[in-house]
Subunit: 324 residues, 2 copies
DNA sequence: TTGAAAGCGATACCAA
DNA sequence: TTGGTATCGCTTTCAA
């Protein structure tokens, strides 16, 4: 690889001068600049980012920590993060943690050693303490970790209310909820939203709420159980789309027609929700927007530019398709 | 951040000695090693990877270049790559190119400047020349770029034959093919496989083959056109699962029952293929295995360990579900 | 067995 | 305007 020295030699100037034209900083005569620029061209010189990083203590790289990129929610998020990062001159290192504490700490260490300039993280298990020890900007996405930490989430409770009310408006008489894992903020909030709408109803019972783990298999099982226990159910609000699809499959197996016998609504608006037959009615999150906002904010934090807010709760919207 | 100097001072030895115990290289007395290890513990010292990279001219980082992580084929691949990379002590930088030549070249430059040790790439537009100029190990995945370049693909033609023959065995009398983009190796190969099986049939015509772009929308349109032109079609082999799902939706809209009126088979075995109703019969690629093999091979190449082969054509297998 | 010092490729201070 | 040089944190050679 050709280095700054080679350029300097070729141009007949010092490395300091080359550095100056590279960074457009300090005084450089027109003639010197010309010579340097030409040499850079001729040698096809590209500054070594590693050397730069060492000196500047920053790497133009950010870390993206997600539970699992195979979870259909995250590819779109990752795409947004990578798009914006690239636009702003940053690269992104991808990390999958499976919500595993050790893996998370491990990746945090690795990223720190690599001098990443900031991290976007989606996690429940990370503690505020762990994060503050990092001493680099962090943005928490999709899930709230702690007050002091910049966070971008969506209106989970409101979305859940909208979904549940929509089912009521569609004349559903008995509405069940397949909730996400206990203790996960967004799952809890969505469950709350559901409850606020139905808990006053005479028909409502706690057993209308069943547990899922945001994945399809758990949802199929939960729905099977649910519909056996409560055959009267004619509406289901699933806490995410993947589970809604599981519910569709389960209902299908049990011979229930959708939406005639049971209306089903999801949450997320992942691409998959348009692939099913019938297409899924769902509460659409602006996933790309989420990633975009997080990345923009992170880079502002990194570059010490002003940020107006460090907490965003993005709007969700109901998209009616054919499952309701 | 605590540096090697701090450790040296604390342990009362030189940085050289600390480096020796860090790398387990050269002579170090038991007592010195003890002291150093203790200081490392006490200070919670983690060597700065950037400084290491600068000296060693390698970064324990690899690049993963894909067209679009939102394309359902790639998350699983990315997950495999990241898993294995992490296991072997490497991080992975994610790049989305949209098959765009400029973006590809840009990412190549960036990765090179960051001293990545190797690159896994999925692309049609990259030239062999571009790649050879890199002077670092590359593995091409999913698509063949050129003979000299380490490559991992699947048996596209054979899989396509299997799919088409399967449809024939299912008593389909008129089998159509929704092919992928012209000029993309795997799309071409799958089309060829289809043709080899049906081109001898008396009913076969070129107009049974329609173009798609590996996405859902194009496939819906293609299928609409196809079924209007040839209502007699009772079997469709789509060149990937996303297009097969598009075909299902189109057939549905046109009031055709699947699999009774039309049998549909896909290719890839993405997670989505299990989410549809009816679940998709498809030619399953070992996607995770693909990523795993590519990463293992790349790291071997990087670390100059022996690799037995630099070309793999992985087996695919038919998984029968309910769309046929 | 150990430490001093050169060097990796850049930046930025200071003196000229 | 320019160049010399210390510096970032680490590895490795060489001499002791």
């Amino acid at each position: 690889m050709v280095s700054i020295k080679d350029v300097a030699k070729q141009a007949g100037v010092s490395v300091a001068t080359v550095s100056r034209v590279l960074n457009n900083k300090g005084y450089v005569s027109e003639s010197a600049r010309k010579k340097v620029e030409q040499s850079i061209q001729e040698l096809n010189y590209k500054p070594n980012e590693v050397a730069r990083s060492l000196f500047k203590k920053q790497s133009k790289t950010i870390g993206l920590i997600v539970p699992d990129i195979m979870n259909p929610f995250f590819p779109e998020l990752a795409r947004a993060v990578e798009d914006i990062a690239a636009e702003l001159g940053y690269s992104v290192i991808l990390c999958n943690t499976d919500e595993n504490k050790e893996k998370e700490q491990h990746y945090l260490d690795v990223l720190l050693q690599k001098y990443v300039d900031g991290i976007i993280v989606s996690s429940n298990t990370l503690s505020a303490e762990q994060i503050h020890k990092l001493h680099i900007p962090i943005v928490s996405i999709d899930r709230e970790i702690s007050q002091g930490i910049p966070t971008i989430v969506v209106e989970n409770k409101k979305g859940a209310q909208t979904a549940t009310r929509f089912l009521k408006d569609k004349e559903c008489k008995k509405i069940a909820h397949i909730r996400g894992p206990l203790g996960v903020t967004n799952a809890d909030e969505r469950c709350e939203g559901y409850k606020e709408v139905v808990s006053g109803e005479p028909w409502f019972r706690e057993s209308y709420i069943v547990n899922g783990y945001f994945d399809m298999q758990s949802s199929i099982e939960a729905t099977n159980k649910l519909l056996r226990l409560h055959p009267e159910i004619d509406g289901i609000f699933a806490a995410n789309d993947t589970m809604a699809i599981g519910a569709i499959k389960s209902a299908h197996q049990l011979g229930r027609k959708i939406p005639e016998d049971i209306a089903i609504i999801g949450f997320d608006g992942i691409a998959l929700s348009k692939a099913t037959v019938p297409e899924l009615t769902t509460i659409v999150q602006p996933i790309y927007e989420l990633g975009k906002k997080a990345t923009t904010m992170l880079v502002h934090l990194i570059e010490k530019k002003p940020v107006e807010k460090t907490f965003y709760e993005l709007e969700v919207r109901l998209v009616e398709r054919h499952s309701t």
